[in-house]
């Protein structure tokens, strides 16, 4: 079976007054129907990775190298109509801020139907009934009435449900979710996460879920890839990442979650801040903040080690037994 996603040596630079090396040599592969969480802090390249996948980066200012295949199709070569068919048809996206992503002057039914008409070539009536069905599937109460509402008439949680309905209306093979629950309250966030989990099972699509919150990643995904300074520094199943994190940065992130820290106890915070990425990293980008850095870490990029099947970690220390600390 073809891989759902095969990304090889992706590099993204933004040019302008200063160059930003946003993505540095990222490779990623996904099987059909897999749920992957991209975990990282702001500026780590999570969102840029998603935007590259949809071809949403401004072409004049960004320089993209590497190859991306979705279901065997080279998406870097897509132009014009083919690109339009791919966006929203094959791959679609749910954004963080549904209030900004939805068009305020059209009803939500109209917006979903428009996408269905474009991609499936059906008439308006059929498209509207698909829209109604989608609103039902994302558990919007009295969907029939809501179909004719404008985005401002809905609450934040409802708007995010509409975004999900819109993204899934054309049955994409891959759903990209860019922090879709960050702007929501905790009680609504968990509703949306469980809804996405159900829909993923029902439709069998693959999901890439971008988040900065490890707890959210655990709730939604089977696999986790941790990003830092535009690189994937560790990847594994959610189980492996939570129970057996090998990279010091991942370990630091887990500790910073405060899940079971005693009150008032000093936190083992990662010092400093992520690098600015004005130059392409030529040594381990985490070394300046790393509690267990060695001279070798500052000399060269760390090798990508593979301690298990589809498990990888970019750290010299991961090669040694953990007792060394």
């Amino acid at each position: 079976m073809t891989k759902l996603l095969e990304m090889k040596n992706l590099n993204v630079r933004f040019k302008g007054k200063r160059t930003v090396h946003a993505i540095n040599d990222v490779s990623l592969s996904m099987d059909q129907g897999e749920t992957l969480a991209l975990l990282g802090e702001s500026g780590s390249g999570k969102s840029v990775t998603l935007k590259t996948l949809l071809g949403l980066l401004p072409p004049k200012r960004s320089q993209i190298d590497g190859s991306i295949h979705v279901n065997g199709v080279d998406i870097m070569s897509l132009r014009g109509r083919a690109l339009q068919r791919y966006r929203g048809g094959e791959v679609s996206m749910v954004f963080q801020e549904p209030a900004l992503a939805l068009d305020p002057v059209y009803t939500i039914g109209h917006q979903i139907a428009e996408s269905v008409m474009r991609h499936k070539g059906v008439d308006k009536a059929n498209a509207m009934s698909t829209a109604l069905d989608m609103l039902d599937r994302v558990r919007i109460p009295s969907a029939n009435r809501r179909l004719h509402n404008y985005p401002h008439e809905l609450s934040g949680g409802m708007r995010q449900r509409v975004m999900i309905a819109l993204a899934l209306a054309c049955r994409p093979r891959l759903l990209l979710a860019d922090e879709p629950t960050t702007a929501l309250d905790a009680t609504v966030q968990i509703q949306i996460l469980l809804l996405l989990r159900e829909l993923q099972k029902e439709f069998g699509m693959g999901v890439i879920f971008v988040t900065h919150d490890i707890g959210v990643a655990v709730e939604i995904s089977e696999r986790v890839a941790v990003m830092y300074a535009g690189q994937i520094i560790e990847e594994g199943t959610t189980h492996e990442i939570i129970r057996d994190a090998r990279h010091p940065y991942t370990q630091g992130l887990l500790a910073a979650n405060l899940h079971d820290v005693a009150r008032g106890e000093r936190l083992s915070a990662i010092p400093g801040a992520p690098p600015a990425l004005e130059a392409r990293p030529d040594s381990c980008p985490f070394a300046p903040r790393c509690p267990v850095a060695m001279p070798e870490c500052r000399a060269d990029l760390p090798p990508m080690l593979a301690p298990g099947d589809r498990r990888r970690v970019a750290c010299l220390r991961a090669a040694q037994p953990i007792a060394a600390e």
């Binding site: 309250d185 655990v218 189980h239």
Partner: protein
């Protein structure tokens, strides 16, 4: 001279037994205007009858969903929003009687969530930090500002003449903390002060807040939606729902037993952090109701699994639990006389 010596808060007046700040029956309704005449058409009941006190040296955590009145309460505490009703007493002096707004702000300072929006983009970091001390007429504000910057981990020689846009989010939030502390306040209100920061930076700022509290004998009101953070930093937790206090309790007590059904739902909504034991069912359906027309009686009854007829009619009173009087809850289930069919039995499993 160290920074601790330059820290000169207003003197303590009532001794350790007197709460540092006590609010009673605090109320704030925001008018919603509309129509061509701009008449008030409705009122957002942002904060309705909120009472609590914060002891000296204590940290009170306030949690709740968006729109529950957390931030309005914070703004009322430092007089950024004028209260409709209620009383604010700072160390025995009631605001508006023996205490002016300016005096209150000498004793109470605030750190906001958005570190960028709350700094004047045209002022250097040093000017921003020294600004409040200048307004209050403290001695040598710039010297004070430099010392405070140094204390929060920003080298004054490197950062004093920079502008807010040249700093990272974590550094800007340190500036905001330095600015608040330059006034030598006794109470600092932290409104989602670490929420916008990345996790690794958040831990650094939390460590800093803990150190500063010990060093300057500070009292915090810490507002956040992140329960783990609130548990870590607070001594007591106050839970708000639609402008009202539904539960106040010491951290350990509330972590052990959430006495209000809303608090319980809020706690179960936290991601599990256990891949083998993920959340199976959302604890609450739907969004919080609109605070313009909050439900009658207990405001939570529309989303509560245990609601009965009495919950729609009568407003539950905040009262101590039988097993622990410090653990206060406003729920008919805990009041034996409320008339709820399961009254006095506590929240069922």
């Amino acid at each position: 001279m160290s920074v601790t010596d330059t820290y000169q808060p207003t003197p303590d007046t009532g001794g350790p037994a007197q709460p540092l700040i006590r609010v009673t029956g605090l109320q704030k309704y925001f008018p919603v205007r509309g129509g061509i005449l701009g008449r008030t058409q409705a009122k957002v009941q942002a904060v309705d009858g909120v009472s609590f006190e914060v002891k000296k040296g204590e940290t009170l955590g306030i949690v709740g969903e968006s729109g529950c009145g957390k931030s309005t309460t914070a703004k009322l505490l430092i007089g950024l929003v004028e209260k409709d009703k209620g009383e604010i007493v700072f160390d025995g002096h009631a605001l508006g009687e023996r205490l002016s707004l300016k005096e209150l702000r000498r004793g109470v300072q605030m750190v906001f969530q958005d570190s960028y929006a709350t700094l004047n983009p045209r002022l250097t970091i040093l000017d921003s930090v020294a600004f409040g001390a200048k307004v209050q007429g403290l001695d040598n504000p710039e010297e004070l500002a430099r010392k405070m910057m140094d204390r929060v981990g920003l080298d004054p020689d490197r950062f004093a003449h920079r502008y807010p846009h040249e700093l990272s989010g974590g550094q800007r939030q340190r500036v905001n903390i330095a600015r608040a502390l330059a006034m030598s306040p006794r109470l600092v209100v932290l409104d989602e002060a670490v929420s916008a920061l990345d996790k690794s930076v958040e831990a650094q700022v939390l460590n800093l807040l803990n150190d500063l509290r010990a060093e300057f004998g500070l009292t915090y009101v810490f507002i956040s939606h992140d329960l783990n953070v609130v548990r870590y930093i607070s001594d007591r937790i106050l839970v708000m729902y639609l402008g009202e206090v539904v539960e106040v309790a010491p951290v350990d007590s509330i972590w052990q037993e959430q006495a209000h059904p809303y608090t319980r739902s809020l706690f179960s909504a936290m991601p599990s952090m256990d891949p083998d034991n993920r959340t199976k069912e959302p604890p609450l359906a739907g969004d919080p109701p609109n605070p313009i027309n909050p439900p009658s009686g207990c405001r939570f009854h529309t989303r509560c699994r245990f609601a009965s007829a009495v919950c729609k009619e009568a407003v539950p009173k905040l009262a101590g639990l039988a097993r622990n009087g410090d653990h206060m809850v406003a729920c008919h289930l805990h009041d034996a006389q409320s008339g709820h069919p399961k009254a006095g039995q506590g929240v069922p499993e």
